[in-house]
Structures are given as C-alpha cells and as structure tokens.
C-alpha cells in the first residue's frame, strides 16, 4: 500500500483580504510525481511556500512523512529538497562553492556535492563563476542544491520557467529520472499542462486558490466525457431527434453535430437510431477531449501554450 509523503489539511491563506489558497487538501503519495497545475496566480507558489514553512497558513496544517510541519519543522526539512521559482544563487561564487555554502548548513558529506553535480550534469562547469552560467545551468544548479541533502521529497516550483526549449527539455529529463533512479517523490508546480502530462503520474488542479481536481492522470482522463462527431444529410432533424432522446447536441459547420457521449455503445446506438429514422450518416467518429480542454472545463481558462 502506498503511504503519503505530503498531505495538506484545509490550507487557507489570504493576503490583505484576498484569499490566495482556500481550504486546500492535497495528498501526495510517496514515489509519485505530483503535478500541481494551475494558471499564474492560482495559488501554487503560496501553497509551496506554506509547505516549506516559509509562510504560515491562516488555517490548516501541513503533514510531511506523517509528521506535522509546525511541530517537526527541522527534522522534516532535513528530508525535503526544494527549488522555489528562480534558484537562490550567489553569482560571485562558483557552482561548487554555491553547493558548499548549503552543504555546510546541512552538515552532509562532501561527496554529496560531487553526486549532485553529476546528476545535473554540471561537473565540468562546477568551478566556473555562477554569473557566467546560462539560465539553464543556473536552474540545474538550483536542482543540485535541492538534491544535496538526498531528499525523500523534492518540491519544485515552476522548474522550467524562463528556460529556452533546450533548457526545458534538459530539466524535464532530469526531473523524470529522479523517482525511478533515486526513489524521490516529486511535487512540481507548473502552469504548463503538457509539462505535467509529460512528467506527472498524479495531478492536482488549482484555480483561484481552490483545488478543483486531484487524482492520477488516468482518473483525470476518466473524468473527461468523450464526444461523437456526426455528419448527416439533415442535421436539423438529427438534432431534434437526439435532443428528444436526451442527448446533449451541438450544431457545428458543414452539416456536423457533436454529441456528448459515454463511449462506444452510445456511438452504435446513435448510428442505428439515425439510420432507422431514414437519415444518411456520412461520418461518425469518437473524440477524446484533450487534457487542455478538460483543464479549460475545470478552470474556465485556457492554459498557456507550451514553448516546446
């Protein structure tokens, strides 16, 4: 049975009367990659900051590894790695020295630095000043900082934000290998649906501070209603007929109709109904809505386009 790595219970936090997160109940299974998806300003970063103890919630609590963050902050943070928005780096130090600054705080062995550099493929650039690093290298160094403590859970806030397509690809490849290779649970926030789709096994959708959906990607797919697309000789008649039968029908261009349906049995039934009533069916296909459309349905907003 899977156990829970991260759980939030009724997290609520407002800033100056504006509710940033509202009664958030998250449940992140150990070993999963949890994609925390939402448009900019949805409350993702606020949630992450609360989870890391950087800000306090007005109500609710955070449980990591079954322990309450408010009473076990230090022991919990010792098992957590985090990269919140842009990485926290000292430009006047080398990549290695940046890691050494954090290593001294953590008190972990020096070999952890070499290992982290190796994972993020920065071994060769380790002794260059960080001010000479590209954005992608900075982000990877930020990831190395988060991995330094060999964490059990990695919390990444928009880890590919601001990167060029090559940087995004590199970062995603790195993140993807972590659960399988090192047994790390990953909790990552993103406003890019395709990113979550590529990386995550589980997803939570947040919008205007409220969690709208939480579950596995498969559950999200199951949540979606497929559509039948029909092309008939007399669409008005077909529309009336199907509406009378209780179907939700929409008129499209070129004598086409779309019908909300539950699956293949509906397709067969509708086809035989229309043929029996003397209509000519030129086209009938089943369409799964994309995750993007589901996201749009849930949030009422389109997601940003993915640059890759």
């Amino acid at each position: 049975m899977n156990h829970t790595a991260l759980e939030t219970v009724g997290l609520t936090r407002s800033f100056g009367g504006l509710i940033a997160v509202n009664n958030i109940h998250l449940n992140v299974e150990a070993g999963s990659v949890f994609g925390f998806l939402g448009p900019n300003g949805a409350g993702k970063t606020t949630t992450i900051r609360i989870v890391l103890g950087l800000i306090k919630p007005d109500r609710g609590r955070v449980m990591l590894f079954g322990q309450d963050l408010s009473s076990h902050r230090l022991s919990i943070l010792g098992r957590v790695g985090a990269l919140v928005e842009t990485p926290s780096l000292y430009n006047h130090l080398t990549g290695f020295e940046n890691l050494e600054v954090t290593r001294r705080l953590l008190g972990c062995p020096k070999e952890n630095i070499e290992n982290a550099l190796e994972i993020v493929k920065l071994t060769e650039a380790a002794h260059r000043l960080v001010r000479e690093y590209s954005l992608g290298m900075r982000q990877r160094l930020g990831l190395a900082l988060a991995l330094l403590n060999r964490p059990e859970i990695l919390i990444l806030d928009e880890p590919t934000n601001g990167l060029d397509p090559a940087g995004i690809r590199e970062m995603r490849a790195l993140i993807k290998q972590l659960p399988a290779q090192f047994g790390i649970t990953v909790f990552l926030s993103s406003h890019l649906l395709s990113e979550v789709e590529q990386l995550a096994s589980h997803v939570g959708i947040i919008h205007q501070g409220t969690l709208l959906f939480q579950g596995s990607l498969n559950e999200l797919h199951a949540h979606q209603h497929e559509r039948l697309v029909l092309e008939v000789d007399r669409p008005a008649v077909a529309m009336e007929l199907l509406t009378q039968q209780g179907w939700h029908v929409q008129r499209e261009e070129n004598n086409r109709l779309t019908v909300s349906s539950q699956g293949r049995k509906d397709a067969a039934f509708i086809n035989s109904l229309l043929v029996r009533e003397g209509l000519k069916v030129f086209h009938l296909s089943r369409q799964q809505p994309s995750l993007e459309e589901t996201f749009f349905q849930l949030t009422g907003e389109p997601t940003a386009g993915d640059p890759t």
Binding site: R49, L52, G53, L54, I55, K56, R73, L74, S75, I76, L77, G78, V80, A82, V84, E85, T86, P87, S88, L89, Y90, N91, H92, L93, E97, E100, V101, T102, R104, L105, L106, G107, L145, N149
Partner: protein
C-alpha cells in the same frame, strides 16, 4: 552553538571575492592614510607634541565619528544584499536549521569583520607611526607606542558600536532596499554632527563610538554600556522580528 557553527561556516564562504571582505582592510587603511598625511604634511606643527598620542587620537576620532558608522552601514547592507539579490532568503529559511541561527550568523559575521578591521586599524597605527618616525624625524616618535592605550581605545570604540551593528543588521535584513539601509546609516552619521553638541547627544547611538573615548568618564561609561546592552536588545528583537516574518 552546534546549530550556529554551520551557519557561521556557511557565511564565511559567502565572503569570498566580495567587496565586503576587501572593505575590512580598505576602511581602516583609508583612516590611517588620512592621518598619516596630516602628520606628514604638518610635521612642523606637531613637532613639539607626543606624536604617538596625536596619531592615536587622530585615527580613533576619524574612525569613531565617521568611518566606523558608515562602514557598519556598508558592511551590513552588502552582506544582506548577497541574500536579497540572490533571492536566497527562501532557500536559507527552508533549510533544516533554526531560523535564528541564520540571523545570528549574519550578525556575528559582521561583528567579526568589524573586529578584524579594528585590529587592522591598531596595526596600521603602529606601522604608520614607525614609517613617519623615519620620514619625519622632527616628529616625537622617540618612545615606543602605548600599545595598551591603543588596544583599550580601539576596544572601547568597538564595544560601543555594537548597537549600530545590531541595528544595521536588522535594517538590512528586514528591508530589501540597499538605498534605505545606506540612507539610514548616512542620516544617522550626519545628524551625529549636530547631536554631539546637544545635552542628550550622549544618548545618540551614532555618537557612542566616539563617546567611548571621551575625556568625560560619565559619557564614556554610558556609551559603552548602552552600546553593549542596546546592541543585545536590538539583536534579540531584530532577530525575533525577522524570523517570524513571511519569507519572500
């Protein structure tokens, strides 16, 4: 202490290649250089006096009135600026170390740096005196320098400056703006010129370092006492204020 040492060790590494580190040596050197040229240029004027005394009081006065308060402002702002510019507070405060240790390490680091500057200042006085005695034999550097007096004066100035150290550490950590931190320090030092003549000037923190070497024993004791006690209180309150705030 076990929790403080890692934070201190981490802070020390951050100083590498920074202006803040160079300033530890540059700031006292500027003061020494200034007093050196005053004595070198006006050797005839000072010829009849105890040159070590003139050098020591001249250096200590410039240091305590102007350089030290401004230097503390600069150092605290530069050290906190490392975290503000790198957006590092969120990273530091998400580490498994007590938040107070991050604050305390910052304060102790800057206190250590000012202490090193104070040592550099004393060494510089001795070096400048030796050099001047060779270059300007008319100056009366005949006897050995009064090392005890030099160290005592420098130590008193340093102790009295703790209140400024604690205050500027808090200001620079609490607010992101370098201009604000610098502005507060410059304003504090500037108004010290006017406060020095006022009766309540003895309670003005930016005057504590210079009052610590005052000829009035009452002013001297008050400056050192308030410098240390006020510094401790501001350190505790400042730390409490910073660590309980939301981290940007």
């Amino acid at each position: 202490m076990n929790q403080l040492l890692p934070a201190l060790s981490s802070e020390s590494l951050k100083l590498k290649r920074t202006l803040a580190l160079w300033m530890v040596f540059i700031a006292p050197f500027i003061v020494i250089l200034l007093q050196f040229f005053i004595l070198y240029d006006r050797a005839n004027f000072f010829a009849g006096r105890d040159a070590w005394g003139v050098l020591m009081y001249g250096v200590t006065s410039i240091w305590a009135i102007f350089m030290l308060p401004l230097f503390i402002t600069l150092e605290t702002a530069l050290l906190s600026g490392l975290e503000h510019s790198g957006q590092s507070w969120k990273h530091l405060f998400a580490q498994p170390i007590p938040r107070w240790s991050v604050y305390a390490a910052k304060l102790l680091t800057v206190m250590g740096m000012i202490l090193v500057s104070t040592v550099v200042l004393v060494l510089g006085e001795i070096g400048a005196g030796k050099l001047l005695s060779d270059l300007r034999p008319e100056l009366r550097f005949h006897e050995s320098p009064n090392l005890t007096m030099m160290v005592r004066m420098a130590t008193m100035v340093y102790l009295a400056s703790w209140i400024l150290l604690a205050f500027h550490t808090w200001v620079s950590m609490r607010w992101k703006s370098f201009a604000l931190a610098a502005g507060v320090g410059v304003a504090g030092t500037f108004f010290a010129v006017f406060a020095s003549g006022a009766r309540i000037g003895k309670f003005y923190p930016w005057l504590f370092p210079v009052n610590a070497v005052s000829t009035s024993p009452e002013r001297m004791k008050l400056a050192i006492l308030l410098g240390i006690i006020g510094g401790a209180i501001i350190a505790v309150v400042g730390c409490w204020n910073v660590v309980r705030r939301d981290v940007d």
